[in-house]
Amino acid sequence: MYQLTGVTRDYQKGRHTVHALNGVDLVIEDGDWLAIQGPTGHGKSTLLQILGALDRPTSGTVQFDGMDLARLRESQLTQVRAASIGFIFQSFNLIPTLSAQENVETALVPLGVTSAERQDRAHRALADVGLAERARHLPSELSGGQQQRVAIARALVKQPTVLLADEPTGNLDEGTRDEIMTLLEQLWDQLRLTLVIVSHDSIVAARAQRTGLMENGRLTVEASPTSPFPEEGTQHNVFPQTH
């Protein structure tokens, strides 16, 4: 479970300070599916990086499974990323020189599992996303949708509790987008993951339990009108915006 309180993130850009996050309060329960929308440059990705232990807030607390990510050492953040958090990126971010199977295995390297177990688990993860037959192919030999499936397998092979996706369908056509979203929905449901997706695409956002809107570094969260888990009212922000 995530509990963000008064999170700010400032960047220095030349002589100016950019307030990427401007006091974000947010609670994400285990198993939640939250979609975050908003204009470019308003802090969506910054929030996702803080949730993913890739960055620290300038102020505020980020409670995750009883730890404050804002105060952990770099090595501890690395450990959290390795064990608990899966990432999916818009550009897939596969290692171009490694095969699909080897790309999936890279997620298990920090966990110190044996080579045989690594190969076995990677193979099963690829089978789960329907790419067992393409295990030996290089990313350049796969379509965009297939590459994103490999990325999903890589994110999930270590059995994380949280899956963070940044524009996961941004580089895909509509048909492939629906295919990937259906797959993510299935996996979220089967694995009881906490899923946070940043997307411009309102169709993607509409499939989430809850949607948040980032504007000028502030977050407003509400239940998605088409969510399978509709809630009463429109304000679902546990910690109402006070800024």
Binding site: D55, Q79, A82, A83, N93, L98, E102, T106, P110
Partner: protein, 476 residues
């Protein structure tokens, strides 16, 4: 995963990897070639010094001739009345041993030197020239001797001259001195009982020219000597034509208890400079020359090759190596910069900085080792090329017994004849070898690893500094 990732990455960056490896190879190859050439030059210098001054000699002691010494050698005519006016038609043939203006030391100096601390052995030698004049005096009969003149211009006399060099060898210390670098090719060397005998060991080249063999007899200063051995001394050495026992040389030249060179061997190489100072103290008027002094006196193409290998070659190799290291580092940093997204992703997956660093270092070291292997091959080829193409080198050195001012060639009178001082320089021709030693190859491996480490460190530093969020911000 480490090796798979490393191999695939190197394959992807093959052109760049080859470029970096070739740069390192060029630097390392040059270092090996220069080391080999330098070692060859040192070896050639050693050969030259050994042939010129004898194996095992650390220090040479000579005496600077005093001004005016070494005046004309006089030949007597007419019933032994030297300088008397000969009658027309007189035939003559005279042979004398002369020191040719070389400074002399008392034999007691040898004992003094051998008694000094840290001196393991000392041997005296007397270098002389056997001059022979023969001919007929036609008329007038007087001439003015000129240094080195082959005929007396004062009359129309027909005079022939010939000479050969004779060295008196200290038989008590045969392992040191002028014969030490020689190899007896026929007959035998002197024995301790030969010190008062008229026996000689003849240089192989001179023996061939004079058709002398073991058992042959010939004349030294008019005395009959028997050849007991033929000696071959390394390449064009300054060796004498004929070696005879020191005592005989002293007697024939009327130079009893005199020598003109003392060969000294120090107890160890570290003692040479101390021994040199001690000798200077004990024999203040003597010229003390150490082997390193002798090396610095060597001139000619060998000396040029030496300075080429030690100066230009060394700095060229260092410059190329530094350039190769710099190039490898720049290209590695550039490659890391192009892989920012990749490393950001790996950090997002939970890869520790140490793991990413070792991956980059591994790639750089692999390129370094490939460069090192190619460098060794280039170096061996370069050394072989130097050996094959290098022209024969010559070394010219001043003899330590050069004549001093006024030492020779003074005006003579009557039928006098003066010979110039012994040749002031000697030239030795040597073939340059360029041996590639195991040490040089080990150095190449170390350099290759160092090149890889330097390049990898820069690249790794760049990757480790990278914040994962910043790396991913470029793509999200």
């Amino acid at each position: 995963m480490f090796f798979t990732y490393l191999r695939r990455e190197l394959r992807r960056r093959m052109r760049q990897a080859i470029f970096i490896a070739l740069g390192l190879a060029l630097g390392i190859g040059l270092v090996i070639t220069v080391i080999a050439a330098s070692s060859g030059v040192s070896s050639s210098q050693g050969t030259v010094l050994h042939s010129l001054y004898g194996v095992g000699t650390d220090i040479n002691v000579t005496q600077t001739p005093t001004a005016g010494s070494g005046g004309p050698t006089r030949f007597g005519f007419g019933g032994g009345n030297s300088g008397s006016k000969p009658q027309s038609g007189t035939s003559f043939s005279r042979s004398v041993l002369t020191s040719g203006g070389l400074g002399t030391l008392q034999s007691s100096a040898v004992t003094t030197v051998s008694g000094l601390k840290n001196v393991s052995a000392a041997a005296g030698a007397l270098t002389l020239t056997d001059l022979k004049l023969s001919g007929t005096i036609n008329a007038g009969g007087s001439g003015t001797g000129q240094g080195g003149a082959a005929s007396a211009p004062g009359g129309r006399s027909s005079i022939k001259s010939s000479s050969f060099s004779v060295t008196g060898v200290d038989l008590a210390n045969g392992s040191l001195g002028p014969l030490s670098s020689g190899k007896i090719t026929s007959g035998q060397n002197f024995g301790s009982s030969d010190s008062t005998s008229n026996v000689a060991v003849v240089d192989a080249n001179y023996a061939k020219a004079q058709n002398l063999k073991t058992g042959s007899t010939f004349q030294v200063a008019g005395k009959k000597f028997t050849v007991i051995g033929i000696v071959s001394v390394a390449q064009g050495s300054t060796s004498a034509d004929v070696y005879i026992p020191l005592a005989r040389a002293q007697a024939l030249a009327s130079m009893t208890n005199e020598v003109n060179t003392i060969y000294v061997s120090a107890a160890s190489a570290a003692d040479i400079s101390a021994v040199s100072s001690e000798i200077s103290g004990a024999l203040p008027k003597a010229t003390v020359t150490t082997s390193s002094d002798l090396a610095s006196e060597v001139t000619g193409s060998l000396s040029s090759a030496s300075s080429l290998a030690n100066n230009l070659g060394k700095w060229l190799a260092v410059a190329v190596l530094v350039a190769a290291f710099g190039l490898a580092s720049l290209l590695t940093v550039s490659a890391v910069s192009r892989r920012v997204r990749e490393f950001g992703t790996l950090k997002a997956l939970g890869w520790r900085n140490r793991r990413i660093l070792s991956q980059i270092m591994g790639e750089a070291l692999a390129i370094g080792l490939i460069g090192g292997a190619a460098g060794v091959a280039l170096g061996v080829a370069g050394a072989a090329l130097v050996q094959a193409l290098a022209p024969p080198l010559t070394a010219t050195t001043a003899t330590s017994a050069a004549a001093g001012p006024g030492g020779a060639g003074g005006p003579g009178g009557g039928a006098g004849f003066a010979r110039a001082a012994q040749s002031a320089t000697h030239t030795v021709s040597v073939h340059l070898t360029a041996p590639v030693t195991l040490g040089a190859i080990l150095l190449a491996v170390v350099l290759a690893l160092a090149g890889g480490l330097v390049a990898g460190s820069f690249g790794g530093w760049r990757a480790v500094r990278l914040r994962p969020a910043a790396a991913l911000a470029r793509v999200v």
